[in-house]
């Protein structure tokens, strides 16, 4: 085999010619001239909902000449939380990461401030709701950008027919489609009476008392309706108050009207309860209704998503937002911010909400009256009140107003539902309160 050797002179000449050619060549912008961006989005449970996000990202990438890689990470089995934890430990990972409720605060030290992005979006879309401010901000710094994808309200989803038949309540009259609520009579007392009537009628309310979010969210909203908080905004333990005692008394009565196994319910249990036709009411975003549309249309036709019952201190409903955060160690922060702006434009948000069948709820005040919620059916208008279009209730999250890092522990450890279960099982009020106080003191650990 012959091998042609390159002499030193030939090498120098070739190098010089190549350099000259490169220097004088015109600049050609490549397909991905603006670099790369990796994204970890939440894998939406609604079939086809991911496509809307992908389309928006691809359109932006095409325009900005950025190479994007999207990973859809399911929250099932805590995969999303595990990914966040792993990336935070490794100080490496996606440039944009979807983060549920407490995670911006949990990773606050490692997140890129987003004030420049969010402040512009507020001017465009209106004020975000209070829960988003509570969960997304720390010491004047926006930790992440509120995401419409995955954000939800877990309000009551009632069976129109069963509530009329057993409790004498017309939920459509309380929350008429296309009009403000006429729900002054929809209070916790009414709710309790309805729960008792439905239980006697053989279709109990399906409200879980387990340790997963659906259970904790409902307990959180009911506690807040009584003005009860385990820890106040300054971090003081406020377990032994009349408001907490009232909440526990209310729950003890409510539990006696619920299915006997609610202590073991998880997030899927209430959905199954409604879809199986065994219950008259659950507390959930319209995911159970969406499943019923497919699997039990006769149930879906009777579902009506509406507002929470009011307590002595107001009407509260659990709002669980998602955020998009960018790690401080991200290599392409500017591109990430540019994409987050694109994903938060009103038309982009509407596309994603429509793709989710109305499940996703933007937090901005100008975006709670999109057409999709007025048009979704059956029955028509079933989701009209889901996004709280008339600000009829305060959107909040369980364990608020405690400082978020303490509230996260109360929420994750399901302290509220455990208190209710303990009390309902016969433990004395003072013993339950003492236990909860001890738990909260432990959560103060910094």
């Amino acid at each position: 085999m012959s091998r042609r050797k390159l002499s030193r002179r030939q090498f120098v000449a070739a190098t010089a010619l190549t350099s000259a050619a490169l220097v004088t060549a015109p600049y050609v912008r490549g397909a991905h001239a603006a670099g790369k961006l990796s994204i970890g989005f939440w894998d939406h449970w609604v079939p086809g909902a991911n496509k809307a996000s992908t389309d928006i990202v691809n359109a932006w990438a095409e325009k900005e000449k950025v190479e994007v890689q999207i990973d859809y990470i399911p929250s099932q089995g805590n995969k999303l939380i595990l990914t966040i934890a792993a990336e935070a430990q490794a100080k490496s990972g996606h440039d944009i990461m979807a983060m549920q409720t407490w995670w911006p605060h949990a990773q606050a030290e490692l997140l890129e401030p987003m004030n420049d992005v969010v402040e512009g979006l507020i001017k465009l879309n209106g004020e975000p709701n209070g829960t988003v401010k509570y969960l997304g901000q720390s010491k004047g710094k926006w930790l992440a950008v509120p995401s419409s994808v995955g954000s939800q309200i877990k309000g009551p989803c009632s069976r129109i027919d069963l509530m009329k038949q057993h409790a004498g309540i017309d939920v459509q009259a309380l929350y008429p489609a296309g009009a403000p609520p006429k729900a002054d009579s929809w209070t916790l007392d009414t709710f309790l009476k309805a729960a008792e009537a439905c239980q006697k009628g053989g279709v109990p309310f399906g409200i879980g008392l387990g340790e997963t979010t659906d259970n904790v969210d409902t307990a959180g909203a009911i506690f807040q309706s009584f003005g009860a908080a385990l820890v106040d905004e300054k971090g003081n333990v406020t377990v032994k108050t009349d408001a907490v005692r009232q909440s526990l008394e209310f729950y003890k009565k409510l539990i006696s009207f619920l299915p006997p196994d609610v202590g073991a319910w998880d997030d899927a249990s209430n959905n199954k309860w409604l879809v199986s036709g065994r219950g008259a009411l659950i507390m959930n975003p319209p995911s159970a209704w969406a499943v019923a549309k497919r699997d039990a249309p006769q149930v879906a036709e009777q579902c009506w998503t509406h507002g929470f019952p009011a307590g002595p201190k107001g009407r509260f409903a659990p709002y669980l937002p998602y955020f998009w955060g960018t790690w401080s160690f991200s290599k392409n922060k500017e591109a990430a911010k540019s994409l987050l702006r694109a994903l938060s434009q009103p038309d982009a948000i509407e596309k994603m909400v429509v793709a989710s069948g109305g499940y996703d709820l933007p937090c901005y005040e100008k975006l709670t009256t999109l057409k999709v919620w007025q048009e979704e059916a059956p029955p028509k208008g079933t989701l009209y009140h889901y996004p709280n279009p008339h600000n009829h209730q305060t959107l909040s999250i369980a364990a608020a107003p405690a400082p978020p890092k303490i509230a996260q522990q109360i929420y994750t450890q399901a302290t509220l539902t455990k208190m209710c279960l303990r009390y309902s099982k016969g433990e004395s009020m003072e013993k339950v309160l003492a236990w909860a106080e001890g738990e909260c003191e432990g959560f103060m650990r910094s």
């Binding site: 949990a106 990773q107 196994d261 202590g263």
Partner: protein
């Protein structure tokens, strides 16, 4: 002159030859070859086990935000928590009960299988190993359906006999029973196969001698089978104790630690605190707490095995 010049070279050549010969001899040694062959595994273990173990130790000495060294502060904090002691108690109940039942069941089933004629034995062995072979996360999902709080298949069946409904995962006692039951179902075949192997290695002459001496069934088991299987029983028990103590998937899927934390074991509680509660140092401390408990068990069991080995 030439000699003087050449001599250092000669010395150097000798030295090189000596070195080469030494290396050559070393490579020829069985122990060296064995070490080299095991080296990839040693490196793998160092990367995947030793490093994470030391990293976990490091994490356990940090404060919640992982910015400050707190020494044994996390352990001190845990000792004051009521839930921690509940978890210690539950982990012990879970592991000890499950291992005892797995060992007893495995022993009984191994005897049954051992007594099946060789022709049909393979089929039975294969079928009995199924619970152990299926990934536990998958089989536990099936159990979850059987125990479902509202739609339990067990309760549905029991209702035909006028029994129940039983709150399989809704009541602390039943929830503990359920997680232990599933663990036994998954783990008993491992004991069965280990014991079966041990049974096959017991010389028939010993049983013949015992029969001649007039030993009954129970005496044959007590004086022949058990002494011959003792080491296998000890090793299997130790191994299973470690695996059961560190179990995660069964409890996580069936009860997630509930109701009221009454089924949490170390791994599930560490996950709840460390990952879900984003307090990784405390989660690491909880999981590290298993180490001394298991180390003590290992020391006792292994010391017993080596003592008997020396006696033999």
């Amino acid at each position: 002159m030439a000699d003087v010049v050449l001599q250092p070279n000669r010395a150097a050549t000798k030295k090189t030859v000596g070195k080469r010969g030494g290396l050559h001899n070393m490579l020829k040694r069985k122990s060296t070859v064995a070490f080299l062959m095991a080296l990839p595994l040693i490196l793998l273990i160092a990367t995947l086990v030793v490093y994470p173990a030391f990293y976990a130790l490091h994490l356990a000495t940090l404060n919640k935000s992982m910015q400050r060294f707190v020494g044994l502060g996390n352990f001190e904090f845990l000792f004051k928590r009521e839930t921690f002691w509940l978890v210690v108690q539950q982990s012990c109940i879970f592991a000890i009960t499950a291992v005892i039942f797995k060992a007893v069941l495995g022993f009984i089933i191994a005897h049954f299988v051992h007594n099946i004629p060789a022709k049909g034995q393979r089929k039975w062995r294969g079928m009995l190993l199924v619970p152990w072979v299926i990934p536990p996360a998958m089989s536990t999902l099936a159990w979850l359906w059987l125990f479902d709080p509202s739609y339990s298949a067990f309760n549905y069946t029991l209702s035909f006999f006028g029994v129940g409904p039983i709150p399989w995962t809704g009541d602390a006692m039943w929830a503990r029973f359920s997680v232990i039951l599933v663990n036994i179902w998954v783990g008993a075949p491992f004991f069965m196969i280990m014991y079966l192997a041990a049974l096959k290695s017991v010389p028939d002459q010993l049983y013949e001698a015992a029969a001649i001496d007039g030993a009954n069934w129970w005496q044959r088991i007590w004086y022949v089978t058990l002494p011959m299987m003792r080491n296998i029983i000890a090793i299997t028990t130790l191994f299973s104790l470690i695996v059961t103590f560190a179990n995660f998937d069964i409890v996580r899927i069936l009860t997630a630690g509930g109701p009221l934390d009454r089924t949490h074991i170390f791994a599930t509680w560490a996950f709840r605190i460390g990952i879900e509660g984003s307090d990784i140092p405390l989660g690491a401390s909880v999981s590290l707490f298993m180490v001394p408990i298991l180390a003590i068990a290992a020391i006792f069991i292994l010391r017993d095995i080596s003592k008997r080995g020396n006696e033999a």
